[in-house]
């Protein structure tokens, strides 16, 4: 059952997404599922965020762990602008920069090596479970960014494609679960033929051939959590694709390989992203529930979380129940959620901002 209800603490991948569903009533785009592909206008959304206003003089050290690597400093520009602008307003707060990667960030939080984990994707169930075992309570999550529409390394949204000749135009998460899984935790029944998705004529009896990312890598794990209810029982017939690395250092991206394969298979269905689209394939509109509404992926439907396969970027803190946070940490997180913080995010990264109403709500809960 996909439920709703915004909460700042203990936020899992699905909770983050479904928590935002209650905001969908304040639609940023028409509910037709056919949002106009107009350029994303950042100024109009930035006006809806509150400017940062210090709540007194903050102090302490913020020790940042999270999204980055020794090969690519994914968030360096953004985080350093956050720090420099914040420091103008709160000069008493020091920073330690330990952004070694999402994989170590939650571990740093519960071992005490860091006090702010900025992830490059949703928290993994294993990391959350380890935190809870070590601390006896859940980590507190704050959504700080929305994954991009199609920018590499900035958590682009997952999209579902079919061959251009395919008559199917839209699917619900439940239908996707039935196609890509076997367990059907939401109560569906496995779907293996196009006729079960409403396709008629010569399509009716044709078997569906799924294509996707490697199921045990980060991309596959997101789809599994959001669509399969965290079931590891994928449809065994799925064809998985990994990056193909060439001797000259270039690579054939997994998403490109997936859609190139789909172009050769009229009866396929594939998880990928529009950045890899070719003329032979077409993305589907997706809906949270059977019967819709269904949405095309656009910046607006991603920010509003109306599009179901939107990625979210959280920051996590160790907030002991009943105790207040250090002032420096609280103020820095409030700054990331402010108009200035979200402007920096737009200008210094490939991410999209979060929904302004969620930002205001999260700021209020950080008191």
């Amino acid at each position: 059952m996909r439920s709703s209800g915004v909460q700042v603490s203990s936020i899992s991948r699905r909770q983050f997404a479904t928590g935002l569903l209650c905001l969908a009533g304040c639609q940023l785009v028409p509910g037709s599922g056919k949002a106009a592909p107009a350029p994303f206008r950042s100024e109009s959304i930035l006006d809806q965020f509150q400017p940062y206003e210090p709540r007194g003089v903050a102090s302490g050290t913020v020790s940042l762990w999270g999204h980055g690597s020794f090969k690519r400093d994914f968030m360096g520009r953004l985080v350093n602008r956050w720090i420099s602008e914040f420091h103008q307003r709160q000069p008493g707060v020091d920073f330690e920069y330990e952004m070694y990667g999402t994989a170590s960030a939650i571990g740093a939080l519960y071992t005490g090596a860091g006090n702010l984990a900025i992830l490059g994707e949703e928290i993994s169930p294993a990391a959350k479970k380890a935190f809870e075992r070590e601390k006896g309570y859940s980590p507190t999550g704050v959504m700080v960014a929305t994954g991009s529409l199609d920018v590499n390394y900035f958590d682009y949204a997952h999209m579902v494609f079919v061959h251009r000749d395919n008559p199917v135009r839209k699917l619900s998460l439940g239908q996707l679960e039935a196609v890509f899984g076997t367990e059907c935790r939401s109560g569906c029944k496995p779907i293996r033929a196009w006729g079960e998705l409403g396709a008629q004529g010569k399509w009716h009896a044709q078997a569906i051939q799924p294509y996707g990312w490697e199921t045990d890598e980060d991309f596959g794990l997101f789809f599994r959590e959001r669509v399969l209810g965290d079931s590891h029982r994928w449809n065994p017939s799925i064809r998985e694709f990994a990056h193909l690395k060439y001797p000259d250092g270039t690579q054939y991206d997994h998403g490109q390989r997936i859609l190139d394969a789909l172009a050769q298979d009229r009866y396929g269905i594939a998880i990928s992203n529009i950045r890899y689209q070719n003329p032979s394939v077409r993305p589907l509109d997706l809906g949270w529930h059977d019967g819709g509404p269904y949405y095309a992926p656009t910046p607006e439907t991603l920010i509003s979380q109306q599009y179901p396969l939107t990625r979210i970027i959280p920051a996590y803190i160790d907030r002991t129940p009943g105790q207040s946070l250090a002032s420096g940490l609280t103020e820095f997180v409030r700054f990331m959620l402010s108009r200035e913080g979200q402007r920096a995010l737009i200008e210094e990264s490939g991410y999209l901002p979060i929904d302004p109403r969620l930002a205001i709500r999260q700021q209020a809960e950080l008191v």
Partner: protein
Amino acid sequence: MTWLLIILLMNLGGYVPGKGLPPPSAGSPPGQIRIWGPPQLADVASAWEAGFEEANPDVDVLLHFTGSDTAMAGLYTAKADIALIGRDATDAEQKAFEWVFRYRARQIPVLNGSVNSEGQSPAIAVLVHPDNPIKEITASQLSRALLTESAELSWSDIGISGGLAGQPVQVFMPQAESGTGRFLRARLISGEIRLQWERITEFEDSAAQGAEDNASTRAAEAVARTPGGLAFGIAGVPGTKTVPVRNQMDTSKVPEFSSIQSGEYFLSRQVNAYVNAPDGSGVDEGVQRFLEFVLSEAGQNSAGKVSDFIPLSENGRTSSRALVLRD
């Protein structure tokens, strides 16, 4: 903007984005060795602590035993010097370590798993109903039971003749993504997760502490009720028959002390110490002294007295010592 940059660099200890982030300083604090692990290994670690401190009164061994996953986090955040776990590190744990230190955590086997003690890395036994006439089974046949696409796989399909030949194989196993399930898939089917789920029943551990608990026992209990079943479980459960597994050396073995210690039973497991040591280097001096004690006859015997873990063979101890001293 210049003054902003100066402030920024002062606050980030000289870090410049894009220039690479130096790893945190690792190494045990003077006079201390910090060991993290799961509660199921706490007794063994306490025995090693007592034995080592008796011979090394100047060293304080600090134990923190809350879980295998938290132990690996202790290692990659430089809060622990040794992560002692009853399984192999996961890909995610090794990735976390490698992205911090730029080399992989070194794995040093320090004990064998038990024959059939829950929570003590028991060997995975292949079990059938007592009425099943099967005499032995090969790794290839076991892989077919997990992977063959036919939903109605019969015993004859995996090469078994006799009364069960036409009956379907129903597989019982610990949850495929548990530590036991991952180990099983790694050994039999190269880690493949796309199994033939229609004929597979999984069992989840009920333990809250992150170590393997009773899923292997429950899988065994299920086959005791199912004449056409095949379980990957724990040996010795009443109503089950343990099937010898033919290994790469072409000998058939069941899980027992000798076949596990010699390495001949290929579905047995090990307890590993993971340490922070760059490729081509020995481990930290204090950690080295501790691990040498662990791998000594006294260390191995003291573990055996407080648990069902099986000591390493002499060859196994020699191999592990080489990993400690590697330079």
